[in-house]
Each structure stands twice: as structure tokens, then as C-alpha cells.
Amino acid sequence: MTLLIGALVMGVILSFLALGIFVSFRLFNYPDLTAEGSFALGGAVIAALIISGFEPLTATLLAFICGCIAGACTGFLRSYLKVQELLSGILVMTSLYSINLTIMGRSNIPLLSDTTVITILERISDRMLGVSAKAVLLGWSIPCRNLAVFLILLAVLAVFSLALYLFFRTNIGTAMRAVGNNAQMVRALGVNTNLMVVLGIGLANGCIALSGALMAQYQGFADVQMGIGMLVWGIASLIIGDSLIGIRSTGLTMAGAIMGSVLFRLLVSIALQWGMNPNHLKLVSAVLVLLIIVFPMMVQKKRKKKGAEA
């Protein structure tokens, strides 16, 4: 049961990643590889700040801002300097590898004995409910502190995604969504589409770095390679969310992304529990994304063929 709660917490943390990928991949139609670098950037910034004695909440906020800056760089390359779409992300992702190493000073920083956002939450729970308090859920007993971490992070996620949703209903947020939908038209209506791309991709990578920062604190270490495969992970969450909800309004797609992220992490945990080799995880998630994209197309083709024969 502790394992299940662990998977749920990770799912919630990775939901921030999924929201970021939702912004870049869905709203801006842009497979932004910066994600791989900015996820690790979040981890690198938080780890470097925490071991130098920084207050973890502020440090998490700073990680978010660093991610925004990295994303804004990609947006700048793409819109103002007219660098090819994919290449702009690849360039920033590659530079971030060196930047992350420089920030961390080495390739891995353990945070096990330091104060992190997670240990703060656990301490609050301990103080209020006692160190060894257990809750009984569906017949299983779970340490209250784990449950508290999950519930508080879930509440933070809810507030964060609500804020994001409301942002996309403001003037500037609506203009941003329109840029991904029909840039030519928005430009003719007087919107600076280049600036919107910089801000939007910046925001997306801010969410992703936030996810990386929380993940580093939860698992107790930051690693320079922790971002590898994160774009595919986010896309998988989005696609699962789409098939769960299936309607294309901004709010519902966001809710779908969160549900997809949690569900995907749960499935992965179950697979690992059943003995899947963790080394195969990225391969499996890539193949899964491929199947989810290709399978409906193949079914459709077959149906069409059948229709033609009939």
C-alpha cells in the first residue's frame, strides 16, 4: 500500500510535467525537446540551492523561474531567430546538459539528510497526527505522513492547474491559445505571435522544471540525467488523458492530462512490481505512445478497406 501511495505521489508530481507538455505540445503544437533539459534543470537548481542551505519553498519557486527562462530561450530561438522548430528545442536541451552539470558541480546530488518541501510536509503531519499514526484505507494501513504528503501535493496541483486554466481564459492567455491554433489569423488581429511563443514555451518549461524540482525532493536526489525520456512520458500522459476524457476543451484536456499522468505512473509501478526490468521502462513507454498513436489509424484504415470491399 505504501508503494501505491508512492506511485500516486509521483503521478501527482509528474502531472506538473504533463501540464507543461500540454501547453507546448497541445496548445502550441510543438514537440518541445527542451523538456528533457528543463526537468533536470529543476532538479539541479533545487539540489544546488538546498545543499547550500536555501529555504526549500523559495528554492522550488526559483527552479520554476529557471525553467521559464530556459523555455523562453527556446521560444526566442524558434520565433525571433527563425531556427527550425525541433532544432530550437534540441539546441537548448543540449546546452542545458552542460548548464545543469555546472549548477550541480557533479552528476548526482543526494538530498536524503536535507530539509526539502517533502520533509517539511512530513514534519507538519507528524506534529499534527503523531509520528507513527496510521490511517486505514480499504483494509490497508498506511502511515499518515505519506498520505498527508499525497493529499497536500494533490491540493497544490489542484490550485496550480486552476490558476493555469484561469490564465488561459484571460486576454493574453486566449491570444496564446489562438497562436497555436492559427498564427496567421492572430497576427492579422494584431497579436505579437513571436512574443506569445516565447511566453508560452517559457511557461510550459516552468511547469516542467517545477515537476523536476519536486521529483528530486521526493526521491531524495537530483541527477543530471533525470530528464531523459520526459517528453515521451508527458506525451503518453496526454494521450492517455485524451482517451479517458476525449473532449477537446482546454479545461477538460488539462484534467485529462493530470489523470493520464497519475494513471500512467500507476501502471508503470504495477509493471515494475510484476518484475519488469526498470532499464526497459523508456523503451516500453515509447512503444506505448507509438501504439496509442498508430493503433486507431490502423483500425480506421481496416474499416475503410472493409467498407470499400462491401
Binding site: 490564465f167 481564459r169 484571460t170 486576454n171 493574453i172 492567455g173 486566449t174 491570444a175 491559445r177 489562438a178 491554433n181 492559427n182 496567421q184 489569423m185 492572430v186 497576427r187 492579422a188 488581429l189 494584431g190 497579436v191 505579437n192 505571435t193 477537446r248
Partner: protein, 262 residues
């Protein structure tokens, strides 16, 4: 009002595929004038519209709007004064967004790009009122995706968006070419109504001789990047579809001969 001076635009310069889209083209349009632009495919109409709207940067020459040089001004900045309706009904709207959100984007042109609600109550009321005035029943479907609408409905809405804040200049780029005749007629009559009501300075590209004869104050015919005929006033009023087709065929024949020499 609008003045184009010696505009030159050459695509693929120096290569065998060189295309002279605009050849030292000059044109002056006065305040409140409605100019109909005719010409064959490849005569440079689209490049001309692009140079005015800012989506195409001319190689030489300048574009003046109300006396100020806007040749190098980015498209989104000059969009404040220029309204544009495209040929393709899909080009003028954001298909995945609702009707009201699309119109809100147009309303933002008049300021208000910050963190205010895109669909604030006051704006929404104005949107409903103006959509109702189209008499298409769309005011009941404001929350629907605009992508679900027909081409004609989308062009009508694009026209509404382009003129939401009264533009100094309205560009209509074959905006009824992709519609069936009945719908085209409806959109045309809506265009006429809006242009006359707000006495808008308008530049309209069309392939329909009938529209050219019946609408506007002036006909400008282009061929190979230059203006070859320019009729206004009484001269324009006397023009018949037959005359235009004759002129058009003359020019077109010349074009074909030219093509042989290439």
C-alpha cells in the same frame, strides 16, 4: 490615405524560376474609396495585399498609410489599422476555439491584452449583440467551436472580426472565392453593408467580373506585377462585364505569349 510607391517584389531572384511579382508598382487610394482589384493568377495581387498587410516584405519601394511609412513595420503592429479577410475561410478563424473567443480576439485589437478576462461580461454582451445583427442565428451558438461552422458563416464572422474596431483600411482577399454562389452573394451583401456603413477605405481582390462591375468606386486591373488599367468615376460606372472580359482576355493573351517566350 494609402500610397504605394514603386513596389518591387521578386521571388527566386537570379534563378531560372525567377518570378517578378511586383514591378515598380505605384497606387494611391484616397480616404473612403473602395478599390476592386482584378488580375489573372500570378499577376501579383496576393503579393500586393501581402506588402500592404505586412506578411510580405517588398524588395524595393514603400508603403504609406495616412502619410507614415509602414513598409518595415511588423504585421502585428500595423494590424491595428488594417483589417484583413482571407480567401480561405479556415485562414481567418482559430478553428478549435469558440465563436465568442474568436470575436474576443478581434475586440482585443482596441486594447486590453493583459490579464483581464477575455470574455468579460460587457464584452460578451457586445459580442452577442453584434453577432445577432448578422441575422444568422449564431448568437445562440457562441460557445460552439468555430470550426464546426460552414464556410459562409466563418467568412461572415471573419468580416465582423476584421471590422470590429473600425480599420483605416480593409483588405478583402478573394474572400468569397471559396463559397457557393448563394453564400457568396450573402457575404458580398454583408461586406457592402459594413463598408458603406462605416465608409471604410477598401481594397478588394476578386475574380468575379460581376462583383467588379457592381461594387466599389474604382477598378484596377493588374498583369505581371504592374497596373495595366485603372477605371474610376463615370468611366467605371459605364463598364460592363463584357468590356472587362474583353480587356481581361487581351491581357491574358499577352500573358500566354509571354509564357511562350520564357
Amino acid at each position: 490615405m494609402l500610397e504605394l510607391r514603386n513596389l518591387v517584389k521578386i521571388y527566386n531572384a537570379g534563378s531560372p524560376n525567377e518570378m517578378r511579382a511586383l514591378q515598380s508598382l505605384s497606387l494611391a487610394v484616397s480616404e473612403g474609396e473602395w478599390v476592386v482589384l482584378l488580375g489573372t493568377n500570378g499577376s501579383g495581387k496576393s503579393s500586393l495585399m501581402g506588402a500592404i498587410a505586412g506578411s510580405t516584405v517588398p524588395d524595393e519601394g514603400s508603403v504609406y498609410l495616412d502619410g507614415s511609412d509602414i513598409t518595415e513595420m511588423p504585421e502585428h503592429v500595423r494590424a491595428r489599422w488594417i483589417g484583413r479577410v482571407f480567401q480561405n475561410p479556415f485562414a481567418g478563424t482559430a478553428p478549435d476555439m469558440s465563436i465568442s473567443e474568436n470575436l474576443a480576439l478581434a475586440a482585443m485589437k482596441g486594447g486590453g491584452r493583459g490579464l483581464g478576462w477575455a470574455l468579460a461580461r460587457k464584452r460578451l454582451a457586445e459580442i452577442r449583440e453584434r453577432v445577432k445583427a448578422l441575422h444568422m442565428g449564431l448568437e445562440k451558438r457562441l460557445e460552439d467551436r468555430i470550426g464546426c461552422l460552414s464556410g459562409g458563416e466563418r467568412q461572415a464572422l471573419t468580416l465582423l472580426m476584421a471590422t470590429w474596431i473600425r480599420p483605416k483600411l480593409l483588405l478583402l482577399d478573394e474572400h468569397t472565392a471559396a463559397l457557393d454562389p448563394k453564400t457568396a452573394a450573402e457575404v458580398i451583401s454583408l461586406s457592402r453593408e459594413i463598408i458603406r456603413r462605416d465608409s471604410l477605405t477598401t481594397l478588394m481582390v476578386t475574380h468575379s467580373m460581376q462583383q467588379a462591375v457592381n461594387m466599389g468606386d474604382r477598378i484596377v486591373m493588374m498583369n505581371r506585377g504592374s497596373i495595366v488599367h485603372d477605371f474610376s468615376g463615370e468611366e467605371k460606372k459605364k463598364l460592363k462585364v463584357r468590356d472587362l472580359i474583353e480587356l481581361f482576355n487581351e491581357e491574358h493573351g499577352e500573358l500566354q505569349n509571354g509564357a511562350v517566350h520564357c
